[in-house]
């Protein structure tokens, strides 16, 4: 049951969050997501997500002479990430508040 509760770790959201501070290429995104969010993105998943986010205009590729092309979040991508973060933040805040009340009551 708890496994099903990890939907917050939606790969598109993780990639958007990874690109929120600065542009990164594929390998840098996987490293960042693994280190900061504790989720390992496979190469297949990462590029499926990159293709989808690029098609929706949420990220864009930057010019590169290298095969390691960096991507940057667009204004639309930042807005979508902000909205989703706000929603998740509300859920987290309600969950924390209610758990604390319940734990406080249980402990009494």
């Amino acid at each position: 049951m708890t496994d099903r509760l990890d939907r917050w770790a939606d790969p598109p959201l993780l990639v958007l969050a990874s690109l929120a501070d600065e542009p990164k290429h594929g390998y840098a995104i996987t490293q960042d997501v693994a280190q900061t969010m504790g989720v390992r993105l496979s190469a297949g998943t990462l590029y499926a997500v990159i293709a989808r986010l690029e098609a929706r205009g949420l990220i864009e590729p930057l010019e590169s002479d290298d095969r390691r092309r960096p991507y940057r979040i667009t204004a639309a991508g930042a807005e979508a990430l902000a909205m989703q973060s706000e929603r998740m933040s509300k859920v987290a805040s309600v969950a924390r508040e209610r758990l604390s009340t319940r734990l406080g009551w249980s402990g009494a």
Partner: protein, 286 residues
């Protein structure tokens, strides 16, 4: 197999446009991460959704319409040929089953939908055909001119050979079953040749614009009509097998079974290809 070969094999599973856009980046990522078999397998696994839901920004809609038209045309011709064989062996022989009007309805539906399909395909494809023919002649592209004239040359040649053959080998009751098989196979070869010509010209001349969109949209309608005709064939053949097995060798299910499998396969490929082309035409016009 080495890891680079496995990576190449996994990437080969993707649509060409996807591979051209992301292939090098995926290779670089796998090199950097030292990804093992699991990483390569994840790349291979994701190829399937890339075919079913290709990213919109990678769509080359005119190329999609041209490819779909070429494929749909070949299989539409095969399906039309199979339909004519059906008509020759059942309807033209006057086969009917008293008490089962479904057979007559199936014949009528087949006639109407086949006629609609041929008319729509003809009128819808004519502007594109004329456009390509004018360009091939203007630019003195003789090979493309021949390709474009194949839909006229191949059937006329076939009919001429057919008339001569029937006169030479036909008796009072027509040709023998062996010769019927020969002329039928020759008919399919002629239909395939006729359909392949414009398909090759589409690949070489790469037309774009409203005429291509009209042809792709008409291809969708013509394929839908042929799918209904194919359904009518299936109903009629199954009906004849069930209710009139003594007619024309329908006692055994093998030949009708093979025939129906070919009809269903040709109808499926025609419908899927034409639908993809029509969809691209709709989005290109939007």
């Amino acid at each position: 197999m080495t890891r680079p070969s496995l990576t190449r094999a996994a990437l080969a599973l993707y649509p060409p446009s996807w591979r051209a856009r992301y292939g090098d980046e995926v290779r670089a990522l796998l090199e950097d991460s030292g990804g093992g078999l699991a990483a390569v397998a994840s790349v291979a696994w994701r190829a399937l959704p890339a075919w079913f839901w290709p990213p919109r920004h990678l769509h080359d809609r005119p190329a999609r319409m041209r490819a779909s038209l070429g494929t749909a045309l070949i299989f539409w011709s095969m399906l039309t040929g199979l339909g004519l064989v059906f008509a020759q062996l059942t309807q033209f022989q006057g086969f009917d089953v008293p008490g089962h009007p479904e057979i007559r309805w199936a014949y009528a539906v087949f006639d109407v939908t086949l006629a609609v399909s041929v008319l729509v395909a003809g009128f819808g494809g004519l502007p594109l055909w004329l456009l390509m023919l004018r360009r091939a002649r203007r630019e003195r592209r003789r090979r493309d001119t021949v390709y474009l004239l194949l839909p006229v040359i191949a059937p006329v040649t076939y009919l001429a050979v057919l008339v001569v053959t029937v006169r030479l080998v036909g008796g009072a009751n027509g040709v023998s079953p062996w010769w019927f098989g020969v002329v039928t196979l020759a008919g399919f070869a002629a239909a395939a040749t006729a359909a392949a010509g414009p398909g090759l010209a589409l690949r070489r001349l790469q037309p774009r614009g409203p005429a291509l969109r009209l042809a792709a949209a008409a291809g969708g309608v013509a394929a839908a009509a042929m799918a209904v005709a194919a359904t009518a064939i299936v109903v009629a053949v199954i009906g004849l097998c069930l209710w009139a097995p003594s007619f024309a060798g329908y006692r055994h299910g093998t030949v009708p079974g093979i025939y129906l499998a070919l009809v269903v396969a040709a109808a499926a490929v025609t419908t899927v290809s034409a639908a993809r082309g029509a969809r691209a035409a709709r989005h290109a016009g939007a």
